[in-house]
Symmetry: C2
Subunit: 319 residues, 2 copies
């Protein structure tokens, strides 16, 4: 507990190593984790959370790197969580766990951390949120969360970030596929990266038209498409201005608090569900499942009835 | 209940419309769902499940289409579940829910169904497994499950399928990214699609070398890299032969039953966890959360303590 108090103090002072240690405690699900999160919670809420998502190859991490440098130059303290398995920040886990760290990570007041997307079934987004809370308590002004936008992860990011930036590239196929995947619906800000490529203007106005339809349907603010060339650091200032535009829109309309409360609701629900499972699966029940698997596999009973009865054996004690 | 009996009989006879209706009941989480799944379970276990995954743009759905036709010509009954948001089977959900159906879907004894990847937080894989069980009970010999291999979904597919086929394309960047994402570790069979492109042979032998390392480390069977050109229906016969090779390897080594029991364990665990949540979140508790959100947001209390106490109010009644 004394140790914890020291760790908390160091985190609150913005100490990089303490922050790193805290995120490791979170990832490893140590008993210290809930204690830590409880004590840090009162110090959270000040950092603005920006989600950056898009299909693989859109240049999300190069753009993230540009944003980090831009924010750093502007004097902001920045934290980055990379959850994209194709990101160079994350590096991937093939033949070892080598993490290629961007040079931005060496900047003062910049903290970059990659988090695994594998082996933590269902637990990913919650760990990411917990890590963001640590960065928030550590005094970061902005937190960037980079994730690949295919399938489920883009939904998770939209339910965590204050502003969600969708990064696309000017290839008709890619863009259309990305939109199919639902990226369109979650975008607060659009970056058309690699916009020096042929056809960029056509794609940009195509997206603008669709966004116009979306705006009309949902009474949203006017979403612009920001053309960027991350590899040449072009358009990053404009992109950040657009993010700040969305931020002030949220604040002016009262949507900021509403959105954060919704995210908090989801966070609590996930914590409760996690606790329910942790409490339920004690040794007795794990043993019971192990002992029953042969007869279920042999179809003596079915898995749904077995599951119901296992849960009922608890519920009956309550009612 | 009378209606259910009729539906079951029709499913068991392989009736396409009954199968389709059953999967809709599953997707909509109707009260009929558990009843249906319980009654069908005794009739499952015969279909062989093939997962097909890979990065977007690898040509997974064209290859899936080739496999469907190949299996159909060979006289096998085939079911297909497409969970890939970038797949033309799935079509995507932008501005409506238009599903583009491949002509293969019109073939006798072929059933193709796309399932949403969004809006069903955490419930995706379970619904897909349930749908596979319906197809299994309906007498399908093979079930193909197509999903995009980025992030979490490739892990889910490997924990559902008997054989997991990873589809790559001969672009160094892509392949390396795909491997990073963990595709390497879950592959039972490798298809190098679009293998008429430059550099295909180098990439193929590169993958073979890495697979050799994997084999040595994990005492696996020798995994070959099958070169395919799905758009010209080339290599599909060889790919299917390799899948059957993996199937007989599983059967000979006793790994088949072991793998299926592991999948069943996971399925039961997920069903239990789902039931726990469903039982827990009654109106009283939802109301309690709604009433507390303001004070948690205002930091009067923290979300972790709140979650613990909410769960404890139940547990205390048990112990």
């Amino acid at each position: 507990m004394e140790l914890q108090k020291e760790l908390i103090e160091k985190i609150l002072s913005g100490d990089k190593r303490a922050v790193s240690r805290a995120i490791t405690l979170i990832e490893n699900n140590t008993p210290a984790k809930p204690v830590l999160l409880k004590l840090l919670y009162a110090h959270t809420g000040k950092a603005y959370r920006i989600g950056i998502t898009g299909p693989p190859g859109a240049g999300k991490s190069t753009l993230t790197d540009c944003l980090i440098k831009h924010l750093n130059t502007a004097g902001y303290k920045t934290g980055v969580i990379a959850v994209d398995p194709t990101s160079p920040f994350t590096g991937g886990a093939l033949l070892g766990d080598r993490v290629r760290m961007s040079e931005s990570g060496l900047l003062k007041d910049v903290f970059i951390r990659s988090m695994a997307t594998r082996g933590s079934l269902g637990g990913l987004s919650k760990n990411v949120i917990d890590a963001c809370n640590v960065l928030d308590a550590a005094g970061k002004d902005f937190i960037l969360i980079e994730t690949v936008g295919v399938g489920q992860s883009e939904l998770d990011i939209a339910q965590t970030a204050d502003t969600t930036v969708v990064v696309l590239v000017p290839e008709a196929g890619d863009s259309i596929q990305a939109m199919k995947a639902g990226l369109m619906e979650i975008a607060d800000v659009f970056a058309l990266n690699k916009s020096d490529r042929a056809g960029a203007d056509e794609i940009a106005s195509g997206i603008r038209n669709m966004l116009h339809l979306k705006k009309a349907a949902e009474h949203h603010r006017n979403i612009d498409v920001i053309k960027t060339i991350a590899s040449r650091d072009t358009g990053v200032k404009e992109l950040f201005a657009e993010i700040l535009g969305h931020k002030s829109h949220l604040e002016k309309t009262g949507m900021f608090d509403r959105k954060r409360k919704e995210h908090l609701m989801r966070e609590i629900t996930e914590t409760v569900n996690g606790n329910l499972q942790k409490n339920f699966w004690d040794d007795v029940k794990i043993q019971l499942l192990n002992n029953s698997i042969e007869s279920i596999y042999a179809k003596t009973t079915d898995p749904y009835t077995f599951a119901e009865e296992l849960v009922k054996s608890i519920s009956s004690k309550i009612n």
